[in-house]
Symmetry: D2
Subunit: 296 residues, 4 copies
């Protein structure tokens, strides 16, 4: 039976951890806001650890799931840190949508102690986390990945080895950057069509039968923009962070990338304008405000 620690009981982390609160695993949980971890532990009859080090003690796999790599890096050191609790040969499975540069730094720090590291961001949203059908994008050694497969299979359905450490995060960031590009450019185009007298539903219907279609035109605009529902499923602040990571990856890899860099600026400005709680699709509202039209 695998002993696992799970750190980071947020919107995605909590349903992921539930798949490990089964007879197949011995689970300890920790969270920055202790109450969440205490409640989870009480409900699921698992151990509530007092510190990251305490959570890691005895675990062969430590799973982390935080907003950014910065929070993970901050858990490593000190008497209460992960390194103090983890032993040689164990693995940190980092499901944070992290930035590749920090992931590589974490990998190097852990390697000094013989601890393995995988960056393993997930996609599929809260719904996918709840039913255990997440896609997991893994950067790091294939052997290490094989050793933590039971944990991965507990919450993931499509488990993909991407390349060296950092490449999971790079792929997640690029996917999300494309999403951001699609949202903004579709908003530009749809705003102009609306002002030109084209019914937005008709426009989307035609585009979705044609070469310009995307997940954004097929799903997000019909269900969220035209209806003015804008449900809050994924925060704009997080998409802004992800596009920023993608933009940084492009620069590190020396790929001239005018569209993704410009999109990073547009989302940074939209994030500031709309605040921390706005949904990612609400970026459309910035285009609408500048154009003086609602897409509906």
């Amino acid at each position: 039976m695998t002993t696992v620690a799970f750190l980071g009981l947020g919107a995605i982390g909590t349903p992921m951890a539930r798949h490990l609160a089964t007879p197949d695993f011995t689970l300890a949980v920790w969270n920055r806001t202790a109450k969440k971890a205490a409640d989870f532990a009480a409900t699921h009859h698992v151990r509530h650890a007092a510190t990251p080090a305490d959570a890691a003690r005895g675990a062969s796999v430590v799973v982390t799931c935080f907003p950014t790599s910065r929070e993970v890096a901050a858990l490593l050191d000190g008497p209460d840190g992960l390194i103090a609790g983890m032993t040689k040969g164990t693995t940190l499975l980092d499901c944070t949508s992290g930035d590749p540069a920090t992931s590589r730094q974490i990998e190097a720090r852990l390697a000094e102690h013989g601890i393995g590291y995988l960056d393993a961001p997930v996609s599929g949203g809260v719904a996918g986390a709840e039913i255990g059908t997440l896609t997991v994008m893994i950067g790091g050694s294939e052997a290490v990945m094989a050793s933590v497969m039971p944990v991965l299979e507990a919450f993931g359905e499509k488990i993909v080895h991407c390349g060296p450490v950092g490449s999971g995060g790079a792929l997640k960031a690029v996917n999300n950057a494309l999403l951001a590009v699609h949202i903004w450019s579709t908003a530009e185009g749809m705003a102009a069509l609306a002002k030109a007298g084209v019914n937005p539903a008709v426009a989307l219907d035609v585009i979705n039968a044609s070469s310009g279609r995307s997940n954004t035109t097929q799903n997000l605009f019909p269900a969220r923009v035209l209806t003015r529902a804008f449900p809050r499923t994924f925060r704009l602040a997080l998409l802004d962070k992800d596009v920023g990571i993608a933009a940084q990856v492009m620069r590190e890899q020396k790929v001239p990338s005018p569209l993704i860099q410009l999109t990073a600026e547009l989302f940074a400005a939209a994030h500031r304008e709309l605040g921390e709680e706005a949904d990612h699709v609400e970026a459309v509202k910035v285009v609408e405000r500048q154009a003086g039209v609602e897409i509906k």
Copy 2:
């Protein structure tokens, strides 16, 4: 039986015209390069007109299908021009992927003579034209559209009224601008992932199961880029023209549109670099050259 003139026997126009070379229509054809029209007329037993005016004589519907609105506007005047041949109450059905401003000028010119005008660009490519399943995006009066429905149904499957004259062209241009945005931004992202050590096929597989997917990631990159096939199905020069039209529409409609404007510049530069014969997907090669990597 409807008498129809068809002008412009290019890659799309020729298979469109074939659907009108049936017992249901009396067809005359004209083409700038006369040999094409002569061959078509001989093969399909239809009339080869000597001039646009000659083609239009007796026709209740004149169909035009040219690279740009400029060619259509140039056919109107003079003793051999369309206006000389068309009579009050007939209709010019312009299937060119035109620019809305010129379409509105053509509409106004024809209205002085009591001639109706629809801008009616098509999508679906050569294949759709051959089997008669084109999408037709129509700008203009709904009554006029109803009056030419038998012609539209001969080659179109999805016939959509978009709004006033120019809105068919605006929608077509926006669709193609989104296609252009997707091609370039996907190339940027995929080039960086390739340089970061991620297998492109794996990356596309993950993106296509996630929120960043588009027709471009689902179809164009797997079949045309990773294979290095780059088949020539739609010229980059034409996509450049379409993005330019979309960019102009955005400006006319006063919609700040940094992404689509920037994309117009990128495709203009790629068009100059790759020449007149390159396929639209070959724009990816410009990103690859700048990044120093092939996406394969």
Copy 3:
């Protein structure tokens, strides 16, 4: 003695016209808001014309000075229009900061009547207009330009032949587009330096001794931004219009121009955000709002 008509008594036009209200010229004035022309005529003892045609009657040179080419084009036709009043061999000297495409259309219309046309936008601002030291950028025939030289020299100090009709406006637009690029990019850079703890006055002092200096860093930022004075000397709405003209010229000339096109979008959005009365330098406030800092 040259007989001159002056149409358009705005902020620049009024002081320009004053230089023609001298014994060297016989002057008639006309303005859309008649009161302004009546007051000017009374003060300067010149003729107040009832219509453009009336103003033009007898004049060998008609000077126009309006916000955009659209207003000039709208004055040409009808019984009260300029063409009705002007005679063969006279010249329309258009000091509007116009767009080259419309200027070429006006030239063609007037040529049908044997009337000459020069596009002749000015720079130097209200101050330069008052003391008669404007720079005049002239597009059109050099012979026509020579024929109106006495009028040009009345208000202009630097009178430059640029090229064919439209090239005066093109040069004015490009100059103003560079100004716009400088304002926005300096705002970006100065906002970041301010947030990084660099005193803006120190930063400008260093830049102005170095390679990044411009009229914007040497004059506009020290006098208008750091002081928070933002005097209203040239409306943002007009600079937005000029950058838009430059962007259109770039496209007509097939020059890929990502920076000027993007700047056109930024100023269009700033114009919408700040309204019709804002000064052009207040565009800096949009950058400051997005950055969360004041440059002072």
Copy 4:
């Protein structure tokens, strides 16, 4: 008498070091390519150090002048490194045009050993270095700056305290980013004017009397572009690096900066296209190639 070590005898470093090879200082030099340092030492009768540690021994001020911060950071550690040779209370005066993030890391490393650090990039070029009239932009403690003033005054004329460590580099990078913005946008505008039939010399003459003027239009274009001389005074590769640093500073400071970010991409692409030896003004040639015109 101040004992000084100078490391980095490149195009700028060599003439800077000469101002320290005087009776006022006891100088040791070191260079990655040892021959340069040996020659310098022989010519100027100063000590040629075998290693960075050896150079630093006994020095109260160590001056570094390298292409990037990376080279400086790489000199710190190991038995031959600067830290091994420097003593508590001495100062590293880093005249590299560095990146602020690395400068802050170097500062922190040195602080552990009681060694002071200033980032102190210079402007004024080779000519300014030779006659000792450089501008020096200093980030770090004012007290430390005061302690190294004799060294600064040996080669600098305008010595400016900018703010905390990193702010010297930030200001230098922003200045150079503005230069890059000006070069590219002027090239765009001038290419369009040339194609529109405006003589480039006339255009520059007008712009330089108007609001769009900059060091680029006043000096670089007349002397280097119109003449087609393109002298190699400052490598495009270095300007690309500096714009990249500025772009990174903008992101760190959370300043949405579409123009500077886009300029970073344009210069990265131009650098790849034109290679390592091209001068920074040769970026104009990329715009010319895309536009199909020479500005002359």
